[in-house]
Every structure is written in C-alpha cells, then in structure tokens.
C-alpha cells in the first residue's frame, strides 16, 4: 500500500509545525513528509489524493470511551463503537471498564483487545478498573492487567469513595508507573440529576453542586502529590476544578486532565424541557464554567479533549428525567464541536492536534500523535469547512443519544487512516 496525500495543511504536534505540504504513506507507515515547496518523490503508479487544503492531523486519540461490550451490546459493540470512532477521525481510543462483567481482570481485557483487533477500525486500549467490581475496596491486579494491554486504571462512574483506598491505588500504580484516571465526584453530594442552580430550581430537579467535583479533584490531586503517582482527571466540568488542577500543576503534581466537547459547548440550559439527551455526569454547568473550561484548554491546564462517548438506547433515555441514564455519544461530534474552538479563535489548529491526539496519546503512553517519518500511518484528514446535518440515520454508533441530533455542524473527518489503511472515507 503506497499513496500520496498532497495539497494538505500538515499539523504535526511532534515538530510543532503547521505547514502546507504532502505526506507519503508506504507499507503502513509514514514514509516521507514534505512542504509544498519541496517536490514530492516520483509517484507514478501511486494513488494520489489531492486534499485541496484539508488538514492532516495525526490520528485522533480519545481517552474516554464507553464501548459497552461485553454486556450491553444493544447499546454499542466494540465493532460499532470503533466504526463510529473511525468516522469521527479517531484511530485510537481508550475504553472504560464499566462493562458487564466489569473489566477488572485479564480475561475481559483480552476479550476487548481481541474483539477490537477483529473489527480493525481503531486501536483500542482498555482502561481496567482500579478496584474489583468497581466496588472501591480491593485493588485489581495492576501488573497483570498492564501486561495484557491495559493502559490505565479507573473506577470510572463509581469513583473510589474511600480516600485511603485511592491513596493505595495511586501508590501501587506508581510501582508500575501506571496511570490512574479519576472520575472526580464526592458521591454523597452527587444525589441530583443535573447541575445545581437556576435551571434546577426552574425545573424542580435536585442538583449536583460544583463542589461535588471540586472536592474530589482537590482530594485526588492532594493524594497524587502525597504519593508522587500519575493522576489524570476525567471530564472536567467546573471552573473550580480547572483552578485546582492549574495550581496543582504549578506545584509540580503529576496531574493531567481532560474535558469533553459538551462542557465547552453547552450549559445547564440544554436540560430545559427535561431533555434526557442533555443529562450527563458530571452535569452540564453554567456559562461561567464553560468559559473557564475553554480558558483551561487555552492555557494548558486541560491537556486533552475526550468524548466520554456513552451510548444509551431509548430504554435508558426515553423515561423520567431523574431515572434516565447519564451520558451522550460523542465520537462523531467531537471534531466539529472542537473545531468550533479554532473558529472562535481559542485554539490554533495545531493546538487542537495536541488536545485531540498528541497529548492523550502521551498521557496514555501509547505512542503516535505525530506526523513523523517511519511512524505508523495513523492519520486524520479534516475538512474544517464542510457543513453537515447530524442525523440519526447517518450515525455509525448503535445509539443516537446526542443533544446535537438534527443540528448543523461544521468541520469533520473526511478520511481516517489507521496503519496505512482507510478506516473511514467520506464520499462526496
């Protein structure tokens, strides 16, 4: 397999360069990269794609995905989830352990990896549970899980409530130089079903205050500081959490953090009308928080954009708001929503490549995230200007729980290439 991608804007976080140029793929790898001024090598007989100014980024990396298999295949399978990932421009995704059975042992990790290899649409990196059954008591076998391919540990939506267990998890993880990902939430304050504030009062719903997240982020950064371990904060949604992480980074704590497109795009207002497609945990917050999240992305406090892709069916979403499940799908909307940050001048295209590829791949330690000669050709080709209506029938995910359904979005992946092979190609 040999092909040339020309007339592209090459966004390479590895070299911190943003240039007009071309990229040659050969034998699954990036063979050569050059600027428009430099002529490309002889390509007679080689497939040539004229990208007409589209962007080439290293394949996107989503460090927070729920693939639902094993256990809830009616919502998503590893095949449909990775197909959706490819459609969204992602070549690598990390999947959370809250499957059924939960990914707290090597057998489940192996199963996920083999299923993903079979499907072939994206590299799948399992995140294993911190504690057995995500129960917050006994640690899982970190060493063995890492050996079979787990890349990090998280109890995900059931955060480790006991601070001493979290401390020990961080300590034990550091003996393997492993990463702990925390869904930061003080469970006793998380009894509501949306953000606590004006809209919760107007809708008569119990709220979840920002303090619920801030307390947990503070606790876990303190524990990371105490133990020296590597900590990653998942889906940051509050102004306070951004500030706590900013200060912790300044002190030299080994902490990284992600946010999700919905936290810099929407606010609690989206819940109006009891819209269960705007119900997630952490909940959509206020405009003040939204702005703080964007600030955090700009100044580097927030390292990565992850989707928290959480497929649910009508069974979980078409019901009483308080009883409906948390979460929305995100793989196929993350790129257009994030490109909006570029359009609004908050991030440069190169910075976006850091947030969506280089940084998450480096936090997870999975390599890639660069357009470098000799590296596997994991690429995402983006038309930042194409507009499309986000429609149920066009989705590759099995679920359609998204607040953007029926809306016009701008910018998307037109081709996704994993290891030199096209995993997605947008026709027309």
């Amino acid at each position: 397999m040999r092909f040339l991608l020309k007339n592209a804007r090459l966004l390479d976080p590895g070299n911190k360069t943003d240039i007009e140029g071309w990229l040659l793929v050969e034998d699954m790898n990036i063979a050569l990269v050059g600027t428009s001024q430099e002529g490309h090598p002889d390509v007679s007989g080689v497939e040539v794609h004229d990208l007409q100014g589209c962007w080439i980024m290293p394949g996107l990396v989503d460090m927070h995905v729920h693939l639902r298999e094993p256990g809830q295949e009616y919502k998503e399978t590893i095949e449909t989830g990775t197909r959706a990932a490819a459609a969204g421009g992602f070549t690598s995704i990390a999947c959370m352990p809250n499957t059924n059975p939960c990914n707290d042992n090597a057998a489940v990790t192996n199963f996920i990896i083999s299923k993903a290899t079979e499907a072939g649409y994206a590299r799948v990196y399992p995140v294993a549970a911190i504690t057995k059954g995500q129960k917050g008591r006994e640690l899982t076998e970190f060493g063995e899980l890492l050996a079979v391919g787990a890349v990090a540990f998280s109890d995900d939506g059931v955060p480790v409530a006991d601070a001493s267990v979290m401390r020990h998890a961080l300590e034990y993880a550091s003996s393997f130089n492993a990463l702990i990902i925390t869904h930061a939430e003080e469970p006793s304050l998380a009894t509501g079903s949306m953000n606590e504030g004006v809209v919760s009062t107007l809708l008569g719903l119990k709220g979840i205050p920002n303090a619920c997240e801030d307390i947990a982020v503070f606790r876990d950064t303190c524990l990371a500081e105490l133990t020296g371990a590597r900590l990653h904060i998942a889906h940051v949604s509050t102004k306070g959490a951004v500030e706590i992480i900013r200060l912790a980074k300044r002190r030299g704590v080994h902490v990284t953090a992600e946010t999700a497109p919905h936290y810099f795009t929407l606010t609690e207002e989206a819940v109006t009308g009891y819209n269960t497609f705007a119900k997630m945990n952490p909940p959509l917050r206020t405009e003040e928080d939204r702005i703080a999240i964007i600030e955090g992305l700009k100044d580097g406090t927030l390292d990565a954009i992850a989707t928290d892709h959480a497929p649910h069916s009508v069974l979980e979403k078409e019901k009483e708001f308080e009883a409906a499940a948390n979460g929305i799908i995100g793989l196929e909307t993350a790129l257009p929503l994030s490109i909006e940050l570029v359009r609004q001048g908050y991030l440069t295209p190169l910075e976006l490549a850091f947030k969506m590829s280089y940084n998450p791949s480096h936090i997870l330690g999975i390599g890639g995230g660069m357009l470098k000669k000799g590296m596997p050709a994991d690429l995402c080709i983006i038309d930042p200007n194409v507009t499309f209506t986000f429609k149920k029938g066009d989705l590759f995910s099995k679920s359609y729980n998204s607040p953007w359904l029926g809306q016009k979005l701008k910018g998307r992946a037109v081709m996704t290439i994993k290891k030199g092979c096209f995993t997605h190609k947008k026709s027309g």
């Binding site: 107007l202 008569g204 019901k319 009483e320 708001f321």
Partner: protein
C-alpha cells in the same frame, strides 16, 4: 359555554400567562356558584372521560379532581400506583399510551419524579394535567390558592404573600410563587436554608432573612408541610426545633396584618409547621381552599376540554 384557553395541557404555571390565569379564576367563580346549588352538576363535559393516574398518595387532590369531573358530567376513573402495571415493570409512557388507547379526554397525573407530565405530553395526544410532579409544580393548587386569596381581597396585585417552610421540596410553593408574582403580588419566602432551593429568586420571590421579616405586614401567610417522605439526612435538626423557629403560631401572626389569611395546602402536621390554634383560627382559610379546589379544577377541565373533539 366557556371559551377555551390556548393550551391543550396544564403542565405548569410556568407556561401560563397572567390573562389566562385571570380567565381560569373568573371561570372558577361561575363554577363555585354552581356548587352552591342543590343540584351541583352541569353538562359541560358530558361524554368526556377523565383518568386520574396517581403514583403518589393523595386524598384531597384526587378527590377534588374526581368531583370536579363528575360535576361537569364527565366520567372518571382513578388508578393508583399500587394497582397499576408500573409495578409489573411497565414504563410510564406505555402505561399512559395504553390508557390513551381507551380514548380518555384527559389524564390527570401525579408522579414522584419531576418533569413526568412534560414527558407524557410529548408522547400522547390527550390532555395531560399535572396534579403534582416531584418537587416541581402543582399548578391547580396554585390556582386554587390564588382563587381563595382573590375571593378575600378582590385581587392579587399588590398583596404581600409570605410562603414559609420547606420551599425546596414544595411543588405548591414553586407553582404558587410563580403565579402570585406573575399576578403582581410581592412574594417572600422563608425557611431553613437547608430547605431552600438554589437561587429561589428565579421563581419571582425575595428571600426573607427571618420569619418575622417575611410575615411583617403580610396579607397572606402560606405555611407548607414538612415533607417527611422527602427528607434526606440532616436537612433539619428536629421537628421540635423547626416548630419553634419556623412554625406559624399566634406570636408569628402578630407581625402580619390583622386581616391576614393563613393558608396551608394540607395535610397539616399540626404542632410542627403550624400550631393547632393558628390552623383553627378565624384567619385560617384552609378548608375554603379545599372547597375552592373543586371549582378551580372544574374551570381547568372545562377550559382545556370543552369543545375538544373527544367530547361526545
């Protein structure tokens, strides 16, 4: 025949306009007159069927809706949670769709989860009337309270109304506050901060620092029930202390106007949120509220349903 209002459903006070509220109250006045006649029945909704679907315990509201429907000559059926198929695992949407398949004109719903009437309105064709959803709204209670106040003062505009107690969990307070402030009343709320929703001002009220402050010069004091079934841990220390600092007693009433009304949506926890003397005092209109409830619900039902195609 009364003219219709532009709504198909009555979900919450939040969707009503001031002149629609006035129209409902005016209509209720004419129905109240009917209720004083020896034959308390009019043919307005003959041929209509109204289903009362109550997923939470209720005596007053359920009976009031039933009587209102019957006095309008509608047929009524009541279903309660303990006898519904929801216990067999049926979803609320399926339950109501099945009820709808039997062609009622309206479903009156009470449910413990906020927003359920809105959910149902999206899925069914018949009228949905909210008889209390979670800690959100209870629009007919607010209307009957407004009716009672208006009967005494001839207006709502300019009155000072104090709502006292568990504002957080009270759908009566949430609907009442919206309605009274929309009609030009000066509404203040008071209660322990742990029983106050975040940013209560968005409901159109001012938050009083003390009970005396709230009641000072008030025309109406509305006391709310301490909702024992909705209390989480550590919201208040004890009923004893609550009674002492937030209960409506004759001492508290001394701050209000002499002509002030005492209201309560019931059921009253006597000796907790209200002293027995206050509940039974001359100023108390608690039972009038109940009487007016039937007239107001007749008005709501007739305005929503009269002339609808399901009517025979």
């Amino acid at each position: 025949m009364t003219s219709n209002i532009r709504h198909k459903h009555l979900l919450g006070i939040q969707h009503l306009l001031a002149d629609e509220i006035t129209h409902i109250l005016d209509t209720a006045e004419s129905f109240k007159e009917i209720l004083s006649r020896p034959i308390k029945k009019v043919p307005t909704l003959r041929g209509c069927t109204i289903v009362n679907l109550f997923f939470e315990p209720s005596t007053r509201t359920k009976l009031s809706f039933e009587l209102a429907a019957k006095r309008l000559s509608a047929d009524t059926v009541s279903v309660s949670a303990s006898t519904s198929s929801v216990l067999k695992g049926e979803t609320i949407i399926d339950t109501v769709k099945n009820i709808e398949a039997m062609r009622p004109s309206a479903v009156v719903i009470r449910h413990s989860s906020s927003g359920v009437p809105w959910l149902l309105a999206k899925h069914v064709e018949c009228s949905i009337i909210n008889a209390g959803d979670g800690i959100n709204e209870h629009p007919t209670q607010a209307l009957l309270d407004a009716f009672t106040i208006r009967e005494h003062f001839g207006r709502l505009n300019g009155l000072k109304i104090a709502i006292v107690g568990d504002i957080l969990h009270s759908r009566v307070a949430h609907s009442g506050a919206r309605l009274f402030s929309m009609m030009g009343a000066d509404v203040s709320v008071c209660g322990p901060v742990s029983l106050m929703p975040p940013k209560p001002e968005v409901l159109g009220v001012t938050v009083s620092k003390s009970l005396e402050d709230a009641v000072e010069g008030a025309d109406v004091i509305m006391s709310l029930r301490i909702q024992k079934e909705r209390q989480e841990k550590a919201l208040i220390s004890s009923e004893r202390e609550y009674a002492r600092f937030f209960g409506i007693t004759s001492n508290v009433m001394a701050y209000a106007k002499k002509s002030a009304l005492i209201m309560h949506p019931g059921p009253i926890n006597r000796g907790v949120e209200m002293s027995p003397e206050t509940a039974d005092s001359e100023q108390s209109v608690v039972l009038e509220q109940v009487t007016n409830g039937v007239a107001v619900r007749m008005a709501v039902l007739s305005l929503l349903l009269a002339g609808s195609e399901s009517q025979a």
